[in-house]
Amino acid sequence: MTVEAGTAVPSGDAHEGGDNYLTHETGLKSWLFTLDHKRIGLMYLVSVLVMFFLGGVMALLVRTELLFNGETIMEADTYNKVFTLHGAIMVFLFIIPSVPAAMGNFFLPIMLGAKDVAFPRLNLASFWIYGFGTIFAIVAIVAGSVDTGWTFYTPYSARADSSVIWMTLAAFILGFSSILTGVNFIATVHKMRAPGIHWKRLPLFIWGIYATSVIQVLATPVLAITLLLLIMEKTLTIGIFDPALGGDPVLYQHFFWFYSHPAVYIMILPGMAVVNELIATFSQRKIFGYMFVAMSSVALALLGFLVWGHHMFTSGMSEYATMVFSALTFLVAIPSGVKVFNWVATLYEGSISFASPMLYGLSFIVLFTIGGLTGLFLGTLSTDIHLHDTYFVVAHFHYVMVGGTVFGFLGGLHYWWPKMTGKMYDEKLARVSWFLVFVGFNVTFFSQFIMGSQGMPRRYYDYLDQFQPLHMASSGGAYILGLGFIVMAYLFWKSLRSGEKAPPNPWASAGYEWMTTTPPHPHNFAETPVMKRGPYDYHLCTEEELWDGFPEDFEAKKAKA
């Protein structure tokens, strides 16, 4: 027998102490050597949260140092190491694996109605490689006292010692984890969809993760090539990047951004992917222009490969190359705009709830719009010359990476928390922490736009007196942001300790992942589901499917009626 969407909902027995993936096996070994994608996803989640905490502490140290001119809490060379740690941890160890590896692992198979990913052992291997790469990266940065910034530009990074090679090696190891996860997801999406999930019924979360996986598989090998060239230069003294040997330092920038620009889309696409789910669920409406939104993810993934040069307009690259990269960069605005317009259109005639995950979803639209529009200033050649390498750029990419990806990640965390843990959290506290995070974020980074357009260069330990008030405001915002995260950590901790039991579908979503029990069955669904409707077809859902309480309460209600 099969479970058919539209005709059946999860049986009530599971939430009453029935089998679920958390209780199925116990002991440390059952976690470390699990092949269950949900457990691997959860381990990724814990790891990236630890990294997020570390990167966040570094961010607060940076902002505290910049509170006053001159030495506040650390010396210049320590400051350089701290901001390098902040950037490298946040990019390579937190944002890149955050949504795809943690939430993608947990929900991609469930949303496909599959039992697991296509290659469960490969999945575990990629987690282990991530763990090894993480330790390697932190040791490389700390032991090599890397102070180059997360971009490791040569020849500065190649001068002192070989720490840049170790750091690239760490990124290379982490890259393998990305590639394996990407291959796994691509195979899963192609081959493991439950009956009834054709491409036009694929949840938009999956479309986003799928596009991300394609970039991971295609772009990450470039990192390996760069590493090989760095090692050859160092050991065989062949001049590739180092001008002292006849190499070209601008070539390194080309290599670096040929990977790292697509990596920007590895970071933002999953954030957008989560927001699709949030907007649809909390407006109870199918995402407007579904196919356009799905294709815009694919378009962004492809365009992401063609615009790396816009990081290098002032680098001494030829004027013709500059022209081509600027023109291509403007094209990125089209699919980004399509997404934003469609999300807003989805709200039209919806039934909008302002539960905490939705607050993050709506914030995403506002913040990503600011992040995207300020990108126009940087894609335009004449204005980029003035703004390049100033705080304007810092503010721009934080609006995209934090206002976009991190808000998407946090929205997803709140949204899927009940499904993952089986516990509800304190909604009031969640709103308080959202408010602090939203306000704190804007105060921190909006002031940096003004500083940047006024000419404050980035990666500066000291600054002119005229920037003092704005630096103070920015640091103040960072403390509010930090406070918001403390409240959030408390509310999730409280939820784990004493949270109420979560019903299977607390947000009344039509999404496939809510059709299973909470927490999910070890095999996701007790029987293979057959999907008779799309994941956003609210108008086709029965009252029972959209019931946000426990199934037995629904039975009671029906009996009463």
Binding site: G149, P155, Y156, G247, G337, G455, L464
Partner: protein
């Protein structure tokens, strides 16, 4: 039209290209404001109008292919226009006029060196610029990447080791070089620069690291964020005079009674003369300067001369013309010094023969 006054968003416009850049900035700014207001406005309105209420159900969206294509294609026209305008100004800023003054800029870890036409090398980290005259900056770096950025001129370009890069600008206003103690004493966009006078800041915007325990003359630890120079816009006449006379004496000597002697001693140190020529009579790879002035010099291969002004001048500018007997092992390179600097060295030498 120039706006010497800065705004909340942008510093004052002190170069010919600045108004062009700023017009583009404000165009994009207002386009962004319109888009932002429309998007968030619609969002907030829908959030209020379609908030969840009992008894109201969401409507399923139909197909709106025409609308989708419209908002996919329409922004394209705007984007092409923005690209075109931005590229135009960029090219304008990339091609220097033919009558530009060429200034060589050498970036090195935590200092800027400026060499003006005629080989006039000014003090480190001081960039004198003639007003209303295009200046082409030709940059090189002797170590890592740096980037030259003058916010008030809206120009920026990386200095890359192993190649030349260039930019140009034309300053439109003289610098207000009033005396100051802190940046706040100076007018907008100025910093309190070297010697306690205001100047426009020139930043290094490509991260270039920080050493441990290396301090600049002011006793501060040098690093990427202290790699700044003073831009001083002076009249064309003053610039011409600067080119003819060469760099002025260092501030610690200026105005003192023995200014020339003091300056000569400073040049002796900073130009590396000290490496070969002693001033206390001790032997070295090159003749000592003690007692040199006015002495009879016998040359390798015959001939001799008295060490007078012309002899010293020749020895600095063309060291290989006549080599003193016994010193053929060392090849002294020619030094490009201004007449006044040579005078200062002569004055210093004279004190060593008294």
């Amino acid at each position: 039209m120039t706006e010497p006054q800065g705004t909340v968003q942008l510093p004052p416009q002190l170069s010919t290209i600045a108004p062009e850049v700023d017009d583009m900035y404000y165009l994009i700014y207002w386009i962004s404001v319109v888009f932002f207001v429309v998007i968030t406005g619609a969002m907030l309105y829908f959030m209020y109008k379609y908030r969840r209420r009992p008894g109201r159900k969401a409507k399923a969206p139909g197909h709106a292919t025409a609308l989708e294509i419209a908002w996919t294609v329409a922004p394209l026209f705007l984007l092409v226009y923005l690209f075109h305008m931005g590229f135009q100004t960029y090219i304008h800023g990339s091609v220097a006029p033919d009558d530009a003054v060429d200034v060589r800029v050498r970036a090195m870890q935590w200092n800027w060196e400026f060499e003006h036409p005629g080989g006039v090398i000014d003090e480190m980290n001081l960039f004198k610029v003639p007003v209303n005259k295009p200046v082409r900056v030709i940059m090189s770096s002797s170590d890592v990447l740096h980037s030259l950025f003058i916010p008030a001129f809206r120009v920026k370009r990386d200095a890359v080791p192993g190649m030349y890069t260039s930019l140009w600008f034309e300053a439109t206003e003289l610098t207000d070089d009033r005396e100051c103690e802190v940046d706040a004493d100076c007018p907008e966009a100025h910093q309190c620069g070297r010697n306690g006078t205001c100047a426009l800041p020139l930043f290094c915007t490509e991260y270039c690291g920080a050493p441990q325990n290396i301090q600049d003359s002011a006793g501060r630890n040098t690093n990427h964020s202290t790699m700044m120079a003073d831009v001083r816009v002076i009249t064309q006449e003053a610039y011409q005079e600067f080119l003819e006379l060469g760099p002025p004496p260092p501030p610690e000597c200026e105005g003192s009674d023995d200014m020339m002697e003091c300056w000569g001693e400073q040049l002796y140190a900073v130009n590396g003369c000290v490496g070969c020529h002693s001033v206390d009579g001790s032997a070295g790879p090159a003749p000592t300067w003690q007692g040199l002035w006015g002495a009879q010099r016998a040359f390798d291969g015959g001939g001799s001369a008295v060490a007078d002004e012309n002899y010293i001048r020749e020895s600095i500018l063309q060291p290989q013309a006549n080599i003193v007997e016994g010193y053929t092992a060392v090849n002294m390179p020619p030094y490009r010094l201004s007449d006044r600097q040579i005078d200062a060295i002569i004055a210093y030498m004279q004190t060593l023969s008294e």
